[in-house]
């Protein structure tokens, strides 16, 4: 099958926590991380989120693709930011004064010039960025592997989202395998008519237009089935009352502890940044 979820029970500590507690914790920590540009603080968070990653008992094999993806995006962003553009988010400090490498290109004819001025400060900023992106990635990478898809609806309902919206989530998860199978059927049906998706021909526009024989039947079929689903739901009183969710979630003391821990991290981070800590920091040794 083309589409399948990555979740499987792995009897890890992290799975015993209420999913709501985990979402809340993740969001709190995300905000906490974004307060810092000091690599010493960021390393603390990297240790924390990698710790969660390890506690979740994920293997390298499972997450390899995701990490490659993160590395790829991160590398392009950091390299482009460091080499090419001359200013940074956190202002002038990025320009730095300790040049390691300087070169000025001048475009022929136009006369536009473009300087590369690599300073210790900018290189160290790149290092800081990498630590920061990695800690956020490790924080969120865990979710698909350790959260049961059937709990998303009830989880978000439990976080105060209205019934209809929460049920939309449940329903979307319900449709994924069905539509995955439909896609496979349509792919086979078109291949039986000589359609070859792998064949390169024509330009970009032709290539995209070539997706129509796959996309149109799958989409229209899904839209046609939508009416039956809506009827079936109306006939069983969907949306008339506040509904009961048999998928029941209950907070236990570790959940409160987990949320409390997240809150403490965020409050602590806010306090530290108000006190002036956590700004961009370059080790003195490098500046000498």
């Amino acid at each position: 099958m083309i589409v399948s979820f990555n979740y499987r029970p792995r009897s890890s500590l992290i799975e015993r926590l209420d999913p709501r507690a985990r979402w809340i914790f993740s969001i709190l920590v995300l905000f906490a991380i974004t307060m810092f540009w000091d690599v010493r603080f960021l390393l603390f968070f990297l240790a924390l989120t990698l710790g969660q990653y390890l506690l979740a008992r994920l293997t390298w094999r499972e997450t390899r693709r995701a990490w490659y993806f993160v590395f790829f995006i991160m590398t392009t962003m950091v390299v482009v930011n460091t080499l090419i553009t001359s200013s940074g988010t956190i202002g002038a400090v990025l320009r730095g004064t300790h040049t390691v490498f300087f070169h000025q290109f001048t475009m022929p004819v136009t006369g536009w010039s473009w300087e590369i001025n690599l300073t210790v400060e900018r290189l160290w900023f790149a290092v800081t960025q990498v630590v920061r992106i990695l800690s956020i990635s490790a924080l969120f990478l865990v979710i698909p592997f350790t959260m049961d898809p059937r709990q998303y609806g009830a989880t978000f309902r439990g976080m105060g989202i209205p019934d209809r919206l929460a049920y939309t989530l449940d329903l979307a998860f319900r449709f994924v395998p069905t539509l995955g199978r439909d896609f496979q059927v349509t792919l086979d049906a078109q291949r039986a008519r000589g359609y070859e998706v792998e064949k390169v021909e024509g330009g970009l526009l032709t290539q995209i237009r070539k997706m129509a024989p796959l996309v149109v039947p799958v989409t229209m079929n899904a839209i046609l089935s939508g009416e039956d689903y809506a009827n079936a739901m109306d006939l069983r009183c969907f949306g008339l009352h506040k509904r009961t969710w048999i998928e029941r979630l209950a907070y236990h003391w570790p959940d409160y502890l987990w949320i409390g821990f997240g809150a403490l991290l965020l409050l602590g981070s806010i306090a530290l940044s108000l006190l002036g800590y956590g700004k961009f920091w370059v080790p003195q040794i490098l500046l000498q």
């Binding site: 083309i2 589409v3 979820f5 974004t34 540009w37 997450t63 995701a66 993806f69 991160m74 962003m77 482009v80 930011n81 090419i84 553009t85 200013s87 940074g88 988010t89 956190i90 960025q129 992106i133 969120f140 990478l141 865990v142 698909p144 592997f145 209809r164 919206l165 939309t168 979307a172 998860f173 319900r174 449709f175 994924v176 539509l179 896609f183 792919l187 792998e198 390169v200 330009g203 970009l204 526009l205 290539q207 995209i208 237009r209 997706m211 796959l214 996309v215 149109v216 799958v218 229209m220 899904a222 839209i223 089935s225 939508g226 009416e227 689903y229 809506a230 739901m233 969907f238 949306g239």
Partner: protein
């Protein structure tokens, strides 16, 4: 087919939002899986046309959820994690075209297709801009970098995919639409 209001969210909308989200996820995963050769650095991502089209056909909330939840699920299935700001950006790509939902009367008419195409481009621009700007806050890149590495590639690729596939879906939908009595 009776259209009520731009913002209603009843059973029908719940169903189509869920279908849109699942379709977005399935199409993105499936086209990744098929290894379709990319041309000229623009990736072939037919999935992005789904939230845009669902917005036009079923309203802004359906468009928003199709893109947002669809992106969440497709990242879940691929194991890519959870990236709230990109999810929001993809949602906006469906939300913005959804704003002209009430003006869409004949999905085959040239005038409606042109209106839709304009909204596709605006939606892709708004959605990808919001996501890229968030990258400044999260990753600490500067504006120019975020535009060069995040905004332009994703905007161009999404807009082109949408511009080509949305009209094709609209014409097909015009044919299907008469078959419902709802």
């Amino acid at each position: 087919m009776e259209k009520k209001s731009l913002w209603s969210f009843g059973t029908r909308e719940v169903v189509y939002a869920a279908i849109g989200a699942a379709l977005y996820a399935v199409l993105s995963v499936a086209t990744n899986f098929l290894q379709i050769p990319a041309a000229a650095n623009v990736s072939i991502r037919p999935a992005v046309a789904i939230p845009m089209f669902f917005g036009l056909a079923f309203g802004p909330w359906v468009g928003l959820i199709s893109g947002l939840v669809g992106n969440v699920i497709s990242d879940l299935v691929s194991g890519y994690g959870f990236w709230p700001w990109w999810d929001l950006g993809n949602g906006l790509m469906g939300f913005v075209p959804g704003l002209i939902y009430l003006q869409m009367t004949d999905f085959r008419a040239l005038s409606d297709i042109i209106k839709a195409e304009i909204m596709v481009v605006v939606g892709a621009a708004v959605g990808m801009f919001v996501a890229s700007i968030s990258e400044i806050w999260v990753s600490g890149v500067d504006f120019a970098t975020s535009m060069a590495t995040n905004f332009f590639p994703s905007f161009i690729s999404n807009a082109i995919n949408g511009l080509i596939l949305v009209p094709i879906l609209m014409v097909a939908y015009a044919a299907v639409r008469g078959r419902s009595g709802r």
